[in-house]
Amino acid sequence: MKNVIEVENLVKKFGSFVAVNNLTFTVGKGEIFGLLGANGAGKTTTIRMLCGLLSPTSGKISVAGYDAYTQPEQIRANIGYMSQKFSLYSDLTVWENIRFFGGIYGLWGKALKGRALELVEDFKMHDFKDIMVESLPVGWRQRISLAVSLVHKPPVIFLDEPTSGVDPVARRMFWETIHHISSLGTTVIVTTHYMDEAEYCHTALVMVDGKIGALGKPGELKQKYVVETMNELFLSLARNGNTKS
């Protein structure tokens, strides 16, 4: 597997506070990589550095082949981002939303139309592409948000708590979509507070006080720490940390 993300000895300090403390990991093409940790463990700081929004204090980051110190703009142009707050325009149709966001990423004319049709195909949206977003159920809106954040074909997509507050069926539909785009070759970095979802990742990184608390395949981690679920692993690791809040 070719590495899409390479992080080596990554450190971020805010004054004397070390938010991210010597992280080293790689993420391969098509991998679903779960970034977990208590509030304040350093997840958001890590994601912001990976997205080219925050400059590291020291260490190496490369995302999609671009360097975080010298090429943050190329990184930003080559990643997709979706959070629970990311909202579509509810008074535009699905098709119009895709075209609008495609335009923002500089697609136009035939290329834009071609990409929009491709997304409709990949996400099986034929039946409702001309429906106003506001009249679609939450589960579908989530999937459309995801489709829209892939409009510029980024090799990596960041999903920040994408399923918060969503019903159990829609949550699972969304994860099936994540596995679908992963099988098409998109790398997925995802954060979540639902520990059952940690099991759905290929690889999980549990951050504790800015450091790596555990890193590996969920199945192997559970064996190693002799726990039944990722929730138990998370609680035992996070409890040993000094994380405030």
């Binding site: 940790g37 918060s164 019903d167 159990p168 099936e176 520990m195 929730n231 998370f234």
Partner: protein, 302 residues
């Protein structure tokens, strides 16, 4: 007399029906959970019970008092913690507590034993402005303020949303301590796995109560046989599994797939054979349904 009695409650916002004909009854001293996804009607129901919103039809009584006609009497008896942080950000932890104690005509000292479990975690930050606390600490301060007048009923709107698994567990431990002091608790959440913390749970979706039971009781309401299927790369196979005649629903649960079937003849072995016939090498176990299985069943019926 139940601590909370809700009868045929309905509420609409324009054309959107937020609650339709909701009935429920909470016993004194109970930890009662209201569980459902965003937009299910949880906040609307909680605001009506907390005397902050008028219903269109039906009524709600808390401690025997009507939430509309007797709201003034009732407000002194209930504690309410809203979903969004609503304390004074520019007052310190200590000042916020004193303020809320003052409003209810009491003092922090008088009720300190009730809040000390929560407050001792906050004490190191007592001179910090509330707005500068972390998410978990804001929650704990809000909980302290909601308890400061020693309410008989504590009403919490999604106290665990957006906080991590550790803070969630801490908060539930605090709620159990409060319950042990005899306070009735009515709490909403979008996390199905928190059902096990409650004595009873009402599941809500689209303004309708789907069912009320003990966390274990939902297993008996689940009408199908349920199996956990373990296999590598199971995501690739979910569509193929759903196309099987025997399959009613199939959804991932952690590292297994929960397979529900109407056919009472199936057992773990026969299902293993069926899966093998479509090329899936799986370990299959028959299991009891949990609350989330029941919720998915209800959603799939509609």
């Amino acid at each position: 007399m139940p601590a909370i009695q809700v009868t045929n409650l309905s509420k609409s916002y324009g054309e959107v029906k937020a609650l339709s004909d909701v009935c429920l009854s909470v016993e004194t001293g109970e930890m009662y959970g209201l569980i459902g996804p965003d937009g299910a009607g949880k906040t609307t129901l909680i605001r009506i019970i907390a005397t902050l919103l008028l219903p269109d039809g039906g009524n709600a009584r808390v401690l025997g008092l009507d939430t509309v006609s007797q709201y003034k009497e009732l407000r002194g008896e209930i504690g309410y913690m809203p979903a969004v942080f609503s304390l004074y950000s520019d007052l310190t932890v200590q000042e916020n507590l004193n303020f809320f104690a003052g409003i209810f005509g009491t003092t922090v000292k008088e009720n300190y034993d009730l809040i000390k479990g929560v407050y001792h975690m906050l004490e190191p930050f007592k001179d910090r402005p509330a707005g500068k606390l972390s998410g978990g600490m804001k929650q704990k301060l809000a909980l302290s303020c909601a308890l400061i007048h020693r309410p008989k009923v504590l009403i919490l709107d999604e106290p665990t949303t957006g906080v991590d698994a550790v803070s969630r567990m801490e908060l539930w431990n605090l709620l159990h301590e409060i319950k042990n002091q005899g306070i009735t608790i009515f709490v909403s959440t979008a996390y199905m796995d928190e059902a096990k913390q409650c004595d009873r749970v009402a599941l809500i979706q689209k303004g309708t109560i789907l069912g009320v039971n003990t966390p274990e009781g939902f297993a008996h309401m689940f009408p199908y046989k349920l199996f956990a299927v373990y296999a590598s790369d199971i995501w690739k196979h979910s569509d193929a599994i759903r196309r099987l005649n025997a399959c009613e629903t199939a959804y991932m649960f952690g590292h297994s797939l929960h397979f529900a079937t109407k056919s009472s003849n199936e057992n773990a072995d026969s299902l293993g054979q069926i899966l093998k016939s479509i090329g899936i090498d799986a370990v299959v176990k028959e299991i009891d349904a949990g609350i989330e299985d029941y919720f998915i069943y209800q959603l799939s019926e509609k």
